[in-house]
Symmetry: C2
Subunit: 139 residues, 2 copies
């Protein structure tokens, strides 16, 4: 590609790779009626204590703005996958809780996504995947 600056190529190569990855993931997840971003939201909620997080925490966890989270959650609320709750200590924060049906959908989607992720990473051995994870973790 570029003979001058390997870091430039590395960054551009990665950006291309991950934009393609997200498109493929979106396609796989569409059978569950959710997008990649929505899956990320559900994933973080599932991991959280009591499956509950504030919108701000959610935003930074998935790399979106606060307004992005607000809008992403609207359809999920209508589908009853998540519920709004109040925080007793601070009336500003409105907590998001994964509902029972949300957990169900998440687990179905997780299976699909896990299969996809394994397939996507299959050109690398487990050892190489670990190495990759370590390298990325430093960035």
């Amino acid at each position: 590609m570029d003979t001058q600056n390997p870091a430039v190529d590395l960054v551009l190569q990665s950006a291309l790779l991950w934009s393609g990855m997200i498109k493929k993931a979106d396609l796989q997840l569409s059978v569950h009626g959710i997008s990649f971003s929505e899956f990320c939201i559900l994933h973080r909620l599932f991991q959280a204590p009591q499956h509950r997080l504030s919108r701000i925490e959610l935003a930074s966890a998935v790399g979106l703005s606060a307004s992005g989270v607000t809008r992403l959650l609207q359809p999920l609320e209508k589908m009853l996958l998540v519920e709004k709750e109040q925080n007793a200590r601070d009336a500003r924060v409105s907590l998001v809780k994964l509902s029972d049906s949300g957990q169900q959908i998440y687990q179905d989607a997780h299976q699909t996504f896990g299969f996809f992720a394994n397939q996507f990473m299959s050109p690398l051995t487990s050892r190489q995947q670990e190495t990759l994870a370590e390298l990325l973790a430093r960035l």
Copy 2:
């Protein structure tokens, strides 16, 4: 994060990392009046023989749809960074050529981006960056 499936975490971690990277890159490039996507376009054009590519080639090179490329190029044409040219053999294709001023802007932006990319990759040694590039190249 997830104790069940390391590939899932790896993919989600990466997606988060690169979405953040693109935002930072956009910020850096804004001093040249271009976005990350526009920089990618200019980069590919600069590398191409005679700094010239068809819109389809450009689209796949930067991971956009054909219509995305059409729309991205409109402002660049107005700024006279690129020029439209016809292909003698096939009247369907309209080639995009990097103009002289486009090359100038690109080289300025490349310097900024190169600096950014080096900084972004600085937690990794050159050796590690090579390893990372090799691993990503397989995916």
